[in-house]
Amino acid sequence: MKKKQKIAQRHKISFKLNSKDVSCDVKASAVLMDVIRDVLELKGTKPGCREGECGACTVLINGSPINSCLFLAINAEGKKITTIEGLTKEDGSLDIVQHELVQHGAVQCGFCTSGMAMSIKGLMNQHEKSNRGAGKNKKGQPSREEIKKHLEGNLCRCTGYVKIIDATEKLFVKEK
């Protein structure tokens, strides 16, 4: 008891969560996933392995996917965080990533899905970013192999991945 209280050092952090400014008080050791779920009460980000293996906790930081279970909340300071709740549009309609996953029947139990969707969104963001101002040297749509490689950090125990990859491929065809 006594010892623990001595250590407990609180930090005030502010960042953008799904386009809204938020601030909160966190322990130094708090990981972003727990802050998102327990303090900010957005439960779409899923706790799976808590070891960086499964990807269920994937969120975007400044547009790129990270494991929120291995990310210190204090390092979210000043950053833009997007969770699955932030993908859905204001009017409640689905983002194209969510739409394609549904259309392809790429969701079974759904536990991996929010992380999967964020990871796919991250790939789209990165693709768009590297093509911005690339002129003629624009990258074509990613191959199935590249999609698989990108989704390596997202485990799914149900679907066998094929439909998830199909859905992702379709997104890039649409993008053009």
Binding site: K3, K4, I7, A8, Q9, H11, K27, A28, S29, V31, R50, E51, G52, E53, G55, T58, I61, S64, P65, I66, N67, L70, F71, L72, I74, N75, E77, S119, G122, L123, S130, K149, H150, L151, E152, G153, N154
Partner: protein, 286 residues
């Protein structure tokens, strides 16, 4: 898990934290550190958080005379996407690309990969083949440079002293338009996640006729530390990459394997590791 943390924003703040701190550890991308800390109830040390440090020598990748300086806080994702690295140091680009998953590459730093001193560190293995130099900054503001061959002193051990931090790595560029044969091979149990069973980085400079001018070969996950296979490199120097004989290839592979002292563990037996290492060593000529 609980700890104290301090987040210096610039070099002066970092040096101050290092001078004043009695018992501290650094944190960069935390992909190794958090796993380690999660196993402990309480920690007696403070963490000096490098993630908010705004200092170019720590964060940027820049060409310098004679090569490239990579800040210790450069992430695997930044290395994967760097055009200069892709062109001149394919072994490093491929190693960074094979590390963990896209989510982890986004935060895992090259400095963390070196300082954690795991025998299976992927970027560390490539840097060994590239004969990089480590630039170390001490709390008094002085820097020293250590060749990577002297950086690892044992499993999870480095030459870093108590009040020292890894600032950057320097990768020498022998000659700008040299032909290269450079890459990274990793054999793992499940895709690229998890530690590798064995890994091999090679960076071979060729002349116009494909004769080997200089070779750098390093192995990972095969000994207590990553190792530079010096005698194997010497053996193939002067040979022609395209016409090297089967006998020389096998002799080269045997020399590479002689640097390995693999263990039998949950992932593979020592025998299997040696076999794999022999075969991938040979395969770099094919």
């Amino acid at each position: 898990m609980d700890f104290k943390i301090t987040s210096p924003k610039n070099k002066a703040g970092l040096l101050k934290a290092m001078q004043e701190g009695k018992n501290f550890r650094f944190g960069a991308g935390y992909t190794d550190l958090l796993m380690e800390l999660k196993k402990q109830e309480e920690t007696s040390f403070t963490i000096i958080n490098l993630a908010q440090l705004n200092d170019k020598t720590f964060t940027e990748i820049n060409t310098i005379s004679g090569g490239l300086r990579i800040g210790s806080l450069a992430t695997a994702a930044e290395i994967v996407n760097d055009k200069f690295i892709t062109q001149h140091f394919p072994a490093l680009q491929e190693a960074a690309h094979s590390l963990a998953s896209s989510q982890i590459r986004e935060v895992a730093t090259i400095g963390g990969n070196l300082c954690t001193a795991s025998p299976s560190g992927d970027m560390a293995c490539a840097l060994m083949a590239l004969e990089a130099q480590c630039e170390i900054l001490s709390a008094n503001g002085k820097t020293r440079t250590v060749p990577i061959s002297g950086f690892f002193t044992g499993p999870r051990k480095t030459v870093l002293q108590k009040k020292e931090v890894l600032r950057s790595v320097l990768v020498p560029l022998l000659e700008k338009n040299r032909k290269l044969h450079s890459g990274f091979i990793k054999v793992g149990t499940r895709r690229s996640m998890e530690c590798s069973v064995v890994s091999l980085a090679y960076h071979i400079h060729l002349d116009r006729n494909d004769s080997i001018v200089h070779a750098g070969v390093a192995i990972g996950a095969s000994a207590p530390t990553i190792r530079f296979a010096k005698t194997a490199c010497d053996l193939i120097s002067g040979n022609n990459l395209k016409t090297i004989s089967q006998k020389d290839k096998e002799e080269f592979a045997a020399k590479v394997v002689s640097y390995a002292s693999p263990i039998t563990d949950i992932r593979a037996t020592a025998w299997y590791r040696k076999e794999v290492l022999f075969n991938i060593s040979k395969s770099i000529f094919e």
